[in-house]
Symmetry: C2
Subunit: 366 residues, 2 copies
């Protein structure tokens, strides 16, 4: 089967008749045909016979940064192992395994990692070798921690690095966006920080313009991530977003988003937390849909967090502070509050800012 693309952003997928014309096919291996433009004039040689990559969890929205800000969180994420595989047809990709066992499709066209890997293969113009991919999910699905973006980011980086790292981070974000657009909507606030690390501001989509916001090296930033056992009602979460916003709320939230960016660049954790906590548009609509969230936020601040909000579309709550010990105390209080206020069991993680983004963690030379 052939997959061709009219642009690097919005692919139109054609299924070649020699494989399957029905998108609901069973094969888990797909060819990238590059009849349309690719990024490289010459197909690159593989540099490794196999690589293993990691991509971190991400917190999107960050309160007033709805749809425009995201940050990578170290210590949790997804792994992708990628190998040259002579048993896979040249130019094709096969998903060998997904662990732990999940409802995720092993069909690369319906799998976050698969879609991103294929997009990168297309950009590189890979025709001469077949690839086999294994995905290890470290992130739960639907938790608001950028699970799909982590898979896509790890896969995109793995393919790129296997062939010598020819593509830029922006290209990899574009590849990841193809994946995100099919899974959770065309938004870059998870995939961009998953690939680039740190804080990323999405300036525009057409053309894609991203701004990495460097948090000072000598400052400490700790995220407390508390995930309740609760499936956030995605439809309700989206429906809760107001279509129209008052000028007063717009001015307020813009100011807080601007303050958040300034606090990140200056490493001012207290100001960062205050801004994170100050969304008057999205959080007030979504928090009531997550049992206990409002109480959890209150308790987090009482316990010394500089700020707290919903991670992505939830249900995970994210609080920020500047030390791990304090972070653990805050996490315990938040877990208690989810139980007391929302009747939900929850787990807390205390993690640092990830400054690197998706990267190789292992490789075997050819």
């Amino acid at each position: 089967m052939a997959v061709s693309f009219t642009s690097p952003i919005k692919p139109i997928i054609f299924f070649s008749p020699n494989n399957n014309q029905n998108p609901n096919f069973l094969s888990s291996s797909f060819r990238c045909s590059f009849s349309l433009k690719t990024h490289l004039p010459v197909e690159p040689e593989p540099v490794f016979s196999s690589v293993k990559s990691f991509a971190p969890a991400t917190v999107a929205n960050l309160g007033p940064g709805f749809d425009i800000l995201g940050v990578a969180v170290d210590g949790i994420g997804d792994f992708v192992s990628l190998s040259l595989d002579p048993s896979v047809h040249p130019g094709e990709l096969s998903i060998a395994s997904i662990s732990p066992a999940s409802k995720l499709s092993k069909n690369p066209l319906f799998n976050c990692a698969g879609i991103a890997a294929l997009a990168v293969m297309k950009m590189l113009g890979i025709r001469s070798v077949g690839l086999s991919l294994s995905l290890e999910k470290g992130l739960p699905l639907g938790s608001g921690l950028g699970s799909s973006a982590a898979s896509a980011a790890a896969a995109a980086v793995a393919v790129n690095e296997l062939f010598g790292g020819k593509l830029s981070q922006k290209d990899l974000v574009l590849a990841g966006l193809e994946s995100e657009s099919k899974v959770s909507g065309y938004h870059a606030d998870n995939i961009a920080p998953a690939i680039m690390g740190g804080f990323v501001l999405i300036r525009s989509y057409d053309p894609l313009s991203l701004k990495r916001l460097a948090f000072p090296e000598n400052k400490e930033l700790v995220f407390v991530l508390v995930s309740p056992e609760f499936e956030a009602p995605t439809k309700k979460m989206r429906a809760a977003l107001p279509a129209e916003i008052t000028m007063a709320h717009h001015v307020w939230n813009s100011s807080q988003a601007a303050a958040l960016v300034a606090a990140v660049l200056e490493g001012e954790v207290e100001g960062l937390g205050r801004a994170l906590s100050s969304d008057r548009i999205v959080e007030p609509k979504r928090a009531p849909l997550i049992p206990g969230m409002e109480g959890v936020k209150k308790v987090a601040i009482e316990a010394g967090a500089f700020g707290c909000t919903i991670s992505g579309a939830g249900p995970t709550a994210v609080a920020v502070t500047d030390g791990e010990e304090r972070g653990r105390e805050i996490g315990e209080r938040m877990v208690e509050a989810f139980w007391k206020e929302g009747g939900l069991r929850a787990v807390a993680m205390v993690q640092r800012l990830d400054r690197v983004g998706a990267r190789l963690v292992g490789s075997i030379p050819r």
Copy 2:
């Protein structure tokens, strides 16, 4: 007459019966009575017999920074001369002169400089000496360059410095806000940069929270200010503001405001200009009310400006670039465009970022 205040932010003014119960009185000298709380436990001694202060022009809004961002511009502004005056009743303020002659009131309670000066006298608890103030307007009224804020800022700083500079910049902004609230609405995006210099982000009003955004010392930033001979229709300008905003526009403008702040802190003039130019909420509504503005913006960009928008509520157009020579070329083109596209005569000024804000420019010790 006595002026007392219930809070440093929103004064309630009482007119004492021994002077005049009618606010439309003629006297130009007013007493500050401090029956309510003042900032200082002991009335400070004057340090100088007279001082002269300067406060710069300011550009508010900056495109997507509507109501939350402002910047001070060097080289143009208002001057205030302030003297101890034994002929003025202790604790009172008299406005001796305003030049050039204008429609501005010499009644301190109806004059920007007077209101701010009285507010600072109140904060300091001045009861023992009388003051005489002269105002030299360097800024035209109603041009969108923060004329009222410059007068208020210069007056506030003059009073504070005459008594040894006991108050903080934030106190002086609060004093200036009393003035702005009576003249042009309770907004700090002119008065804060006029007092503090540089770029200032307004985080909140209750409590007042301001963030000074430091533009790197080693980078150059030049403003091209082109003021047409046109009285911006204030009512129409206000009515043009939409009451409700779509989520898409809110997200876009927030992102641009955040990008603007990042560009300021990093001294990235090109990004700063791009963000300044990208307002999709206010400028598209207001620009059509200023004849030629849309053409002027287009021409500024063609001539090499990194960005262009309306200064404050207009009618001045502001463009940014990184060199004075280029700034002059851009200014000439913009003046031409105001004439060709709007039939308006205009004058251009090329000015640098003011990093200092309101300050003393002269003093005579006691």
